[in-house]
């Protein structure tokens, strides 16, 4: 898993650098009077050391099989569209309102991720929207954004 370790190592190197550098801005303190930056600084330093070790190990290991990142050729589409749907839900929650955005979110995922019929998507979206509204709004009395249609 040469490539995996290299990418992971670089990510953690970035994390270590971020926390170590940031800790200087909030006072590291001393051993007898540790400040708010004490743990981030020392833990960050260890992370830097370990990630350098991981990067070094991944670079020195020759050959090795590199597994494909996605198991199927169209897997990436399903992952990316699911993520986009999640981000879209968050952005449209206030303008569209909880009921509409939930309806479109479920409908979109059922129709396009593992392609199903429009009828199936509509029924799934309708039933799930009605049931979550009943549970969260009517039963648990939680206030969700109403959107431009007022519901």
């Amino acid at each position: 898993m040469k490539r995996n370790d290299l990418i992971g190592g670089l990510f953690f190197l970035g994390v270590g650098l971020l926390f170590t550098l940031y800790s200087h801005r909030v006072e590291i303190g001393t051993w007898d009077e540790p400040g708010p930056g004490f743990l981030p600084f020392w833990a960050g330093m260890v992370v830097i050391g370990m990630s350098v070790l991981l990067i070094g190990k991944s670079l020195s290991r020759g050959g090795g099989t590199t597994e494909a990142f996605f198991p199927q050729s169209d897997s990436w589409k399903r992952v990316v569209f699911t993520l986009l749907a999640l981000v879209g839900y968050n952005f449209l929650l206030k303008p569209l309102g909880f009921v509409l955005v939930t309806f479109f979110f479920v409908g979109f995922l059922v129709k396009f991720i593992f392609p199903g019929s429009w009828k199936k998507a509509f029924i799934a979206a309708l039933l799930s929207t009605v049931s979550v509204r009943l549970i969260f709004v009517n039963l648990l009395e939680i206030n969700f954004p109403k959107g431009f249609l007022g519901f």
């Binding site: 540790p34 199927q72 699911t82 749907a85 799934a124």
Partner: protein, 497 residues
């Protein structure tokens, strides 16, 4: 008050109709989660945390504990019927359980799994009752140095147990520790890495983090490919194991219970390890080891008892030390904290009602599960037929509105999605999640205990090895780290993975 008195007090609370209802909901949800592949108990408890805001603390703990041990019951059903473990602790049940189902003995396999789980769950509860109070008394002698050393040991043990690369596991644990420092420093009031975002002042929200790491990332992995499952289609009949089944299974169940309980007390993914250990032990002790893997009932009875006993045992470090031994318990600890309950040595004496009511409810839950599991098996089989294409959008909606309902914050939804991507990448790049989640939960406590110890000892780091109890914890941690670097043990860890 003696144990009996406390038990009666606990029973009075647990038997209240409201708590009975939540216990039932918990075990039902747990069984469902155990049955449905692609949603583990950690994710399920995380999903229900927002709902628990609106429920009294005792009822919440009763319900969430029910999900945990309920999932252990439910997991066996999918292993036996579909050869797909509903959760990791049921992987081993597939070996003999599914072979039994193929031979037309699905009924006795499901039956012995349910009875084995019931017996182990019951003995496990008695174990908690007897072990937890004296352990809590012992822990009263702990100061900040002991707490820091103990938490360090907890993280080191979970790293030691979890996967092949100790370096990668240490990195994820340290990452969790660092994430735990984000927010306002409790000692000086300084803001750390909040970048002016109000929602980060109290630190990274635990619920968005676990829902993202476990719920969202699990779904992203699952949507990658269409998995076709083959159900055992014949009608499941004759759930009661026959006399010979009982004779063969009795001692494996008892051995599995004892083994599982003690593995459960130790930090690590106890239910999973206990099933492997029980299976290996039974195979070694058996006069007919060649029968294992061909549909031998002992291969179901022992591990099924072990994983239930382990889930009971795992409650002990939580109740007595306030330290979660695995990621499910870490999420449960989060639930305690949300309700203002701080598990630890004082927990049992400070909140006897919560502790004893939970214990009694666990017993009741085990009875409910036995009643639920056997007659409802046909219903569970039907549930398995719900296509994932319909199921996953519902789980996502539950995650989204669950997180939003906490603080009505879209930043927290964003955090959850971010942690979902992080969890997904970690799974893809083979970085283990338990060390991260454990360090994230323990991080703030570890930091304050570390700083307090150094302050009290005037900056002397040897304080951790000068005090005898903390010295033992540090020594064990050091031994585990050193031993994991020995090539032979490295290989064994890789095999465990």
């Amino acid at each position: 008050m003696d144990i009996l008195g406390y038990l009666i007090q606990g029973a009075q609370i647990a038997f209240q109709p409201m708590n009975l209802l939540f216990c039932f909901v918990g075990v039902l949800m747990g069984t469902l989660v155990g049955i449905l592949p692609g949603l583990g108990p950690t994710a399920a408890i995380a999903l229900l945390l927002p709902v628990s805001y609106h429920i009294p603390p005792v009822s919440t703990i009763i319900m969430l504990a029910g999900i945990y041990y309920g999932a252990m019951y439910g997991g066996s059903t999918t292993s036996i019927l579909v050869n797909i473990p509903g959760e990791a602790a049921s992987v081993i049940t597939c070996i003999d359980g599914h072979q039994m189902a193929k031979k037309g003995r699905a009924g006795p396999a499901l039956g012995i799994a349910a009875f084995g789980s019931f017996i182990a769950g019951t003995i496990g509860v008695i174990g908690i009752m007897l072990v937890a109070p004296p352990m809590a008394k012992f822990a009263l002698a702990f100061g900040p140095a002991e707490y820091f050393a103990l938490m360090l040991m907890g993280i080191v043990i979970i790293i030691y147990m979890s996967s092949g690369s100790i370096l990668k596991d240490f990195l994820t644990a340290l990452f969790g520790l660092l994430l735990g420092t984000i927010g306002m420093d409790t000692i000086s009031g300084t803001q750390r890495l909040t970048f002016g975002v109000l929602e980060l002042t109290d630190g990274i929200g635990f619920i968005p983090a676990v829902m993202g790491l476990f719920g969202i990332s699990e779904i992203l992995i699952n949507v990658e490919q269409v998995v076709l499952t083959t159900l055992v289609t014949e009608k499941v009949k004759g759930l009661l194991p026959n006399l010979n089944d009982w004779k063969e299974s009795f001692w494996p169940m008892i051995r599995g219970t004892v083994l599982g309980f003690f593995i459960g007390v130790l930090p690590g993914p106890a239910p999973v390890i206990s099933t492997y250990s029980s299976y290996a032990m039974e195979k070694k002790l058996s006069k007919t080891p060649e029968k294992f893997g061909t549909g031998y009932i002992v291969g179901v009875a022992g591990p099924e008892a072990a994983n239930n006993a382990a889930s009971s045992g795992a409650m002990i470090p939580l109740f007595t030390l306030g330290i979660p031994s695995n990621s499910v318990i870490a999420v449960l600890l989060g639930a305690f904290m949300i309700h203002g309950l701080q598990p630890g040595p004082m927990f049992i004496s400070k909140y006897p009602d919560v502790f004893w009511a939970t214990i009694v409810s666990m017993y009741l839950g085990n009875v409910m599960l036995l009643i639920l599991n056997l007659p409802l098996i046909p219903l569970w089989v039907k549930m398995l037929k719900v296509p994932y294409a319909i199921l996953f959008p519902l789980i996502l909606v539950f995650c989204l509105i669950g997180v939003y309902s906490l603080n009505f914050s879209q930043v927290e939804i964003g955090l959850m999605i971010g942690f979902g991507v992080l969890g997904y990448m970690m799974r893809k790049f083979k970085f283990e999640m338990p060390p991260l989640i454990l360090a994230l939960v323990l991080g703030p406590m570890m930091e304050s205990n570390l700083r307090l110890s150094l302050l009290l000892s005037q900056g002397d780091p040897t304080v951790f090895v000068r005090r005898p109890i903390s010295a033992v914890f540090i020594l064990v941690s050091a031994m585990l780290i050193v031993s994991s670097l020995i090539p032979g043990i490295q290989k064994r860890r890789a095999r465990l993975k």
